[in-house]
Amino acid sequence: MGMRKVAIVGAGITKFVRRAQETGKELSWQASKMALDSCNLTLDDVDMVTLGTAPDAFDGVHMKGEYLSDGAGGIGKPYMRHFVGGGTGVFSPIHGWFHVASGMADICLVVAEEKMSSCHPHPAGAFLTIFDHTTEQPLLPTLMWIFALEMNRYMETYGITKADIAQVSVKNKLNAMDHPSAQVAEKITVEDVLNSETLCWPVNRLDISPASDGAAAIVLVSERVARRLTDKPVWIDGVGHAIDTAYWATRDLSYPRYVETAARQAYEMAGITEPDKEIHIAEPYDPFDYKELHHMEGLMLCPRGQAAQLTADGVTARDGNMPICPSGGALGVGNPIAATGLMKIIEIFLQLRGEAGKRQVPGNPRCGLAQAWGDLMQMGTVVVMRN
């Protein structure tokens, strides 16, 4: 395609917490500084900066991109913000990839930040206005409704139970116990999930990731720079993103077609024809436990309706044949929206380098994938990486 190869060479992350004392700028700096330190670069070396952050209405800062620019290292440099709702964090490396693959930059710092705790009474309230102002808002919807509606439809279509789905929450919260950023890591059982407060049936409290504050950052470089900096570059071999209609009630809620479209782009670019065999490890977006299953199917990692069975069989456990969310995911590490997606990219980066510590999956994985999803449940973003 005439594009240059792009590698990830460094990563940084903050702890994910419910209420951070740090400002969004300070969180951004903490993650960005760590990312540059991790690959022995300085801000001076950086050609371009991209920043991912979800709605301004979370942080309560209008033009959040501009506000965060100094903490993200953007001062005096080409600096761009991108935003595709919950899909933002995996769009971040795609945005950075554009800069480096095109030849515009040799070194691009990619930063993602979210500070949801500023929003009261609850960040969920900021979502009221993502619904159509005339035909939906008067019904006073909450974001949880559409998840509950989608989860119910998914269960009905494939004959899956709440207990089948709860296993995802159990697995991810357990995996997160080994992640130093984790906010809600704990050892729980399927019964704990089923007995937790019912919020919007079929969604219980432990089916959902928390609201979080946090930031993450990675360093993307061209092949020439990568060879100079490290003997363990992780290559971004495929990227894809796609959006579906905003008339969400007219979509097939049992299958995320937009994720499949995005995945097909990324697979084609990476030369992947059998994703279930060629992808060894994946971090699909899991803000709700059923979404991990939904997304595994959209990513064609398993046939439709089969993801719950794979989970029950332990295939998606950290020591299973296809580890899914070995980081602990949004359900365990926490969900500062944009930063979560980049946390997933960082997890694959570390896993492919064999540097994931206690979270390391066995078998030297060579190919991994991270995916996020967002806007009005309509945006899919996919990145395929290899070592």
Partner: protein
Amino acid sequence: MAITEKITNTTTPTFWEGAIPVRYVYTYGLAGEKFFRTVKDKGTFLATYCEDCDISFVPPKVYCDRCFNELDSYIDVGTIGYVETFTLSFRNMDGSEKEVPELLAMVRIGDTDGGLIHYLKGFEIDEIGIGMPVKAVFKPKAQRKGSIEDIIGFGPLK
């Protein structure tokens, strides 16, 4: 092919009204907490300084935005500043007219590179010149809460 529906009734456009009903509670951050604590308790301003870039920040930052150094020592830079630029505002935030026009200035603090935007108090507009020294006027200590409103404005040195 053009728009197929012609709007003939233009006198009663219909619309739907609403709001985004949220409010925000912001923390000041690591550096902001120190800065406003000191305003509240001591009535003075703190700065941070990056030796490598020879640049100082008021309000302070925990990092240098030029080189990303961590800045963790805080310097008391006093309460005297210099008018960097000023304006006379006749309008409130919502566009309505102010009863009494207000003088606003950007005040560079001490010999730092940073400064605050605040009111000028106790001046007529023709008394003000760019570069003139001014001094922060604080609310009485008991009334301070640790916010930008603890500062009434900047007034004459004496």
